[in-house]
Symmetry: C2
Subunit: 492 residues, 2 copies
């Protein structure tokens, strides 16, 4: 596949000098429109062979366009804050918001290729990374991003020549080190691995564009024009009119049995037993956080459930067992402006804990397939793809060694009514009940269906849901704590 | 001053059990009002003697209130990302937004005290830290924060007893290590240093509250009530009506001479000379970024100037000399929602570069004393205090080893008119000129005065302004690059 990037493509100086001023003006205008519309981000991924003009091109794009509105990120050795999170965390941090251009120099593709070339990873691992990257990029485009992936290529002979030329020129001599020649030795292997990688990760939504890197004019014009065309095409496209939703008639199982209706909601527990059990489990949880192995782990809890199902109360009982220094509680309400300018998972990524720490989400990314689905805040297509995006996200967490525990707290419709009424009566719980709660209650059936679908599609082996019948608060809290202790115990 | 915290204050169980439920309800309600009003953040600083109940109190506050809306931060060893920034960076990161409570466990006071106790810093250094902390806290309260600083105290005898008790109890044994006994040996010294520190940093806007730590009921009720009262008092206070501005009649110097009018605005430079000079200075700048010592430095550039003064053009010429991987351009427009919920300097702190990197601010924190002053976006009191706050900020940068270069680009009123008209004519510069530019132009005199004041008050020895006559773009750009090269050269 690199053959067509070894043809010796060239542009003469005259043509180049004639074309560039117009191209620049067009790019600037496109950049301005991008910013004005603020509808989508442009993500430019830069990869390829050493000496093929990667950094020159990145600098050139910054020179041609308004560099103040371009965010360029390179990814040298990860910082310790990055190392303690899943591999993709540092890239999530670097994503440009809607309306901006982000140039990612050596992005998520670099490590998998290099590791494989150096023989530090097996081909199965490479295939797994490929799979993850495809899905990640698909998610990004699903969220509206325009992704352009440029691969700068040189033949072996060309690379040798280029490295020598750089080495000879006093102005660029500093760029060529032992490491470069070391790497040159693995040219063939690098070519083979990256060819495979490029082929596999060239999906319809984010194909690689292989650019011959020898002639700087050819290279620059190619990249500039492709970028311009892609931006123009995308800017001209009207925001897709919301498709009429396919009617999903709520279809209760014919026997009326589903994961929720099968759940025992009420199990009474005496106050004595509750106190005894709480002491036991809170004590064990506290002890676990001081386990030496715990320092290398991080923990994420997800609490979902109907309004008044007792999420807050359960969360407080968990927090009571923890030193306040080691956890952050993240209540999920409407996203902030900065969060709205990013893919919906971004606000959860930004709150992932470091090693030895907990993040407790009170509501979570599952809002996408619950409230956003039921209320029509996103399209059917959006929430349908969210299931697999969420599974991907969670599998990255778990692979990173994070202990992930997800709870669904379920109460009956009668119990909810009782609790709503209580809240309205008690002055200091008054603020816990709003008109919205009553409105949500009217959609009980739709939520029921959404929850069943969610559990069916996202209760995976590595990240199962724990369903908690929560009509009895004592019983629910005991189950939550017992589950948490079990999960952490098996991890350390 | 610790005497009154060694009296053996106690609360009996009965009183405590009677008081707590009401206190909790009141705290929850105050927390709710805080969140609803969203007017100010509550910053709770926790310090004191080991074993005096610091972490117990932090946990208790989380238990009594809604922990999902409290952000608790502890500050163990800084991460590498933190070490590469000024000391205060990690605390800026942890500041709660308006409407939230942030508990900072061992905040900015810890290191200065500990360093002094261990004899790693001189008393002059401690005094300097004290000075900085007072000014920092004053800035926070100026920006609206409610700060409560609790110091938990134990006498030497009490501490010994407490450590032994903790050591004896199997549930708390893990908390006491060799280090604690090591530290206990320096009790007297710790007491002396912290007494001095507390006295010096107990300002009217953020006094320390010394709490006797022996009796947990006394300690808890004291903290809870003080917190409640402070929140209630503050919540009840109506937002201060904007005071009528003192009229600052624009007073040009009697001889009409000031730093701006004395500046030579026009110096013509031939295109040849410009090209030659640019090559020289850009080349030298590029070379400097590869200097081995540069890896330990970071660089911040500030570009200010009238509309159309050529900031963008100058910035681009600087960026051209740099590898796009090492800089971030930060154009300063209206703050985002998350930024608006923080002190005005927060958005600049969050963008400070790591070592070996540049941040280029296109407009900056000086907006406070320019546009915000002239347009009345903040009160006179706000922009008046900003001068010294900005000086503090910049001195922290410089002390951290950051190279800071600040440019004011000045053009004449006629030159601005010419450039505005040109922009209106040129299609691809069209978007650079708006109605606002014309409006700003009408306030030429007010801006002139604001700029003169700014330069007078913030051109310090460690962070001087470079004034650039910019009627001739070539001349201005050369001066900018030459200045930058000079500053970095003297730093590496």
């Amino acid at each position: 596949m690199f053959e067509s990037a070894e043809l010796g493509n060239k542009i003469d100086k005259e043509t180049y000098d004639r074309e560039v001023p117009n191209l620049r003006e067009d790019l600037l205008n496109a950049q301005y429109d991008l910013s004005q519309q603020g509808r989508f981000p442009v993500i430019i991924v830069v990869g390829g062979v050493d000496g093929a003009g990667k950094s020159e091109t990145v600098n050139l794009l910054n020179e041609w366009m308004d560099p103040r509105h371009i965010q360029t990120h390179a990814f040298p050795d990860p910082s310790d804050e990055e190392r303690e999170r899943p591999y993709m965390w540092r890239f999530w941090r670097a994503l440009p918001p809607r309306g901006k251009i982000g140039i990612l120099f050596g992005a998520w593709h670099s490590a998998p290729i290099v590791e494989r070339v150096l023989g530090r990873s097996k081909s199965a691992k490479l295939d797994q990374s490929i799979e993850e990257i495809i899905r990640f990029e698909k998610m990004l485009t699903g969220e509206g991003a325009l992704i352009l992936k440029f691969w700068f290529h040189l033949s072996k002979e060309q690379q040798k020549k280029r490295l020598k030329a750089l080495e000879k020129d006093p102005k660029t001599r500093w760029r060529i080190t032992e490491t470069d020649w070391e790497r040159f030795k693995s040219y063939d292997r690098f070519r083979k691995v990256s060819e495979y990688f490029i082929r596999q990760t060239s999906s319809t939504h984010a194909p690689w564009i292989v650019v011959e890197g020898v002639d700087h004019r050819y290279r620059s014009l190619t990249v500039g024009r492709l970028l311009l065309n892609a931006m123009r095409e995308r800017l001209a496209k009207k925001p897709a009119a919301r498709l009429p939703e396919k009617k999903h008639p709520v279809q209760p199982r014919v026997d009326g049995k589903d994961v929720l209706t099968s759940l025992v909601l009420t199990k009474s527990v005496s106050k004595e037993k509750y106190n005894r059990e709480m002491e036991t489990w809170q004590g064990r949880l506290n002890l676990l956080t001081r386990h030496p192995k715990f320092k290398e782990r991080s923990v994420v809890f997800v609490f979902e459930g109907q309004d008044a199902a007792g999420k807050g109360g359960a969360i407080r009982r968990v927090m009571q067992a923890l030193d306040a220094r080691v956890y952050q509680g993240i209540p999920i309400a409407a996203p902030t402006e900065e969060e709205r300018a990013q893919p919906y998972l971004w606000r959860f990524w930004r709150n992932l804990p470091r090693s030895g720490r907990f993040t407790i989400f009170d509501r979570s990314w599952y809002g996408r397939v619950l409230v956003e689905r039921v209320e029509g805040f996103c399209s059917e297509n959006d929430w349908m793809r969210a299931y697999s995006e969420i599974n991907d996200f969670e599998s990255q967490l778990v692979l990173n060694g994070t202990v992930l525990v997800k709870f669904w707290l379920q109460i009956s419709k009668e119990e909810q009514l009782k609790r709503f009424r209580e809240r309205e009566k008690t002055s200091f719980k008054h603020f816990k009940i709003t008109a919205e709660d009553w409105r949500n209650r009217q959609k009980w059936k739709q939520y029921h269906q959404a929850v069943c679908d969610m559990i069916d599609r996202t209760s995976t082996e590595i990240a199962p849901w724990t369903l908690v019948g929560a009509n009895n608060k004592y019983d629910a809290r005991i189950k939550v704590l017992r589950t948490i202790v079990g999960s952490i115990e098996s991890a350390v």
